[in-house]
């Protein structure tokens, strides 16, 4: 089992399909337009927008579609013309050949699409090793390739900016928890700057000089660079030339003459929607979700995406932008269907921004995927006694004015406490959707590592 897959320019996994000379004229929503030929040897993407719905398996997408738009409705992500499936297995600590782990985390899966290699859970763009605490080899990321090619780069998330998904693009560290300097001193002592290493994820993020950085996690950046010191990573970023913003208004006012660091909350950003945590048995009473949970001082993911595109566009070398809808996963863990669906809808609105940009700039590749599947399942409204799910359920009143039951049962065990413990990821293949040059590479069943080649667009030419 090789951890580094062979990565053709337009990637295809074992048994996957390579389309040669596939040029397409599309009609989407009544509008006709062309994409360039997707031949391996012809046009490649000048700009790349990668949108990652954390934990957004097929079940999560369906639940959001039915709740928000009704059974007959369609989401923005449903408009991407090329669709397929990707396997997401990671590997276990040990020695080569590393053994597969069928139920991965977001650090190992992020490393897959960001670097084209398999690694162990908790690892950020480093290869596998004998144990979690033994650093692996650093792996070049697609953001690093883009920067080398002169492209502008952006990294946007609703989680902490140092969380696994954004971190895999601009950091290399053995454990995902080593987010701020204090965290790294406690958990990754061999990799701190004091020890001659690259430092925590916050420090590496700034050192990478990513042009646009927007998300939560301010508390990580407010940790001191030196133990007990007074200078923190925000100070460090400013010294490196960053403009720093902490609310939506100042984000909107930011100009493109300096790189931008926006940290809008101390930890994860606030979810767009709220609702009750799932309950055992029949579940929560049927209800609609509260859709006004996010304070206006925090920008939406769509607003962050719009701002990032406005700052990145226009460069002769193009750009690479990553946009993560992070709390789909976090609210799936929390067994909260309203918050989970609200984050999926918010992510889908960011996709609309990307698709609108792509329509006006057809040399842009847009890829939408998830890093792993998750717990939530749509089930029937059982009234027969033993037919209820074994876990925790929410009953939601959808756009169709009908009840949809969403259940969570991957954690709770035989003890099964009244309040659901953090639910597990699941191992099902994830959906992948794409439009633009190279997009046909996502057809069929491929592996998450296959994205690495595709996401480089024309950066490979440099």
């Amino acid at each position: 089992m090789s951890i580094r897959k062979r990565v053709p320019a337009v990637a295809g996994g074992l048994g996957a399909v390579v389309l040669l000379g596939l040029a397409a004229n599309f009609a989407i929503g009544g509008q006709h337009y062309n994409t360039p030929s997707h031949s391996q040897k012809s046009a490649k993407a000048h700009n790349v927008i990668m949108l990652l719905g954390d934990g957004m398996g097929v079940s999560e997408v369906t639940a959001a579609r039915y709740y928000q738009y009704g059974a007959d409705g369609r989401m923005n992500m449903d408009k991407l013309p090329f669709t397929g499936f990707q396997t997401t297995w990671s590997v276990k600590p040990g020695f080569a050949p590393y053994k597969p782990d069928y139920d991965p985390d977001s650090a190992s899966t992020g490393t897959m699409w960001a670097t084209g290699a398999k690694t162990i859970d908790e690892r950020i763009s480093q290869g596998p090793s004998s144990a979690d605490t033994v650093p692996g080899d650093n792996l070049e990321t697609v953001l690093e390739v883009a920067r080398k090619a002169g492209k502008k780069t952006g990294n946007v998330t609703t989680a902490e900016l140092t969380d696994a998904t954004p971190a895999v693009l601009d950091s290399h560290i053995s454990l995902r928890g080593c987010q701020g300097p204090n965290d790294a001193r406690a958990t990754c002592p061999l990799e701190t700057k004091a020890a001659g290493g690259p430092g925590s994820i916050t420090e590496q993020t700034i050192d990478h000089k990513v042009d646009v950085l927007l998300g939560g996690g301010r508390a990580r950046f407010e940790q001191p660079l030196v133990a007990g010191g007074t200078t923190n990573v925000v100070d460090y970023a400013k010294a490196k030339g960053y403009q720093y913003v902490t609310d939506a208004t100042s984000m909107e006012a930011a100009k493109s003459n300096k790189p931008l660091l926006g940290l809008f909350t101390p930890v994860n950003m606030t979810t767009e929607w709220s609702g009750p945590v799932a309950l055992q048995g029949d579940g929560t009473p049927p209800q609609r979700c509260v859709t006004t949970n996010r304070p206006p001082a925090e920008p939406s993911l769509a607003a962050m995406t719009t701002k990032a595109l406005s700052l990145l566009q226009g460069d002769k070398d193009g750009f690479f932008l990553q946009v993560e809808g992070a709390s789909i996963d976090k609210q799936d863990h929390a067994a909260n269907a309203c918050a989970q669906i609200g984050e999926t809808v918010a992510f889908d609105k960011a996709i609309a921004i990307a698709l609108d940009y792509q329509r006006k700039h057809p040399d842009t590749l847009v890829v939408v995927t998830a890093d792993h599947s998750h717990t939530s399942q749509i089930v029937g409204e059982d009234t027969t006694g033993n037919g209820n799910p074994t876990g925790y359920s929410n009953n939601l009143i959808t756009a169709d004015d009908q009840v949809m039951r969403v259940t969570y049962g991957t954690a709770g065990g035989t003890a099964r406490p009244t309040a659901p413990p953090s639910q597990q990821h699941t191992g099902a293949a994830v959906p992948v959707m794409a439009i633009g040059p190279g997009a046909s590479a996502v057809l069929g069943t491929t592996d998450h590592t296959d994205l690495f080649g595709l996401l480089q667009g024309d950066a490979l030419r440099h």
Copy 2:
């Protein structure tokens, strides 16, 4: 909410994608070949093979792939170049506009792809109505369209031949349970032949003169035509000109000069594999599956598919063949991962037969899909106490020599008996995969009803 969708020749749902002039040259597994242009106005399929994995959601596919071929392995179905997602919601009894049911059964979903219309659960190619017991309007099926166009037709399943999926092609009845004459007299009294109706599913199947009928369910056909009579539906079939076989050897010997009825078991056919039913908590001890469960007198699904193709091929008007891997669903209900995966692998072997035929006859459209998603989920091997799933789990030793945990938790309720009750279907969108003329219609997110237009191939021309 319209129950009958607008069905263009190459179907596209709301917001779905229509590809114009998409001609493709494929390289699959190192072999290059062409498919005709998929333009709406150009070549349509002369032959159609529809393969239906009952309950085979993305999770079921992934579990089978990992168990049988390992993390890096690929299934035959992974070779189909065009891939997408389909919504499967049915409607609730009532009055138009009918309200959606997000968690459908195989009768309503079968009616969707076989007729292009939404209907209520339990219904076989009839429209919805105010209650289960009130018959709906009969809806023309894709098999009927094919017969009208002079095509030969076949219907193959591992379930009873009168089970929902095969039934939707050649029968119209208000309740799926009305399989044999006795069943219909008990449950669908308004629809028996004695009452002037079309009769039970067995009788309608024979009256349809389907050229090849292979599966289980002999006991349904051995019910007497008239209450207390001695002539049964097998006798009726013989009188109508059918050759009748009951084991693999006689099936192989059947000739193409007469239509063929093969009924290999009294009820459902025997599963290919066996293994333990899932257990609470940590689940069953890690083990491999027993892969020799099916008696040799019963043909495999692949053998039935091979025989059906040999009998249907060569007609100037082409053919329509349906092949169902039925017990993926039935073993998912039973919370038995070995039997479920064995049926998925057996279904995949039937897909290989279809793909081989398609390669030699590129005017053949092959479509693979599922009628609804199901319960099984791949989770981690938790050892921390509360992290185990709330339901029932199997631990399997895969081709990688690693443990894969598959869990079932959509039924069991708060009582949660030691033996799992029948698990529920789930509402997640299903995978759809296709190759051949028109295949690109499955890209993106469409609805199960959209298959009706695609599956007609060139039959619409007549």
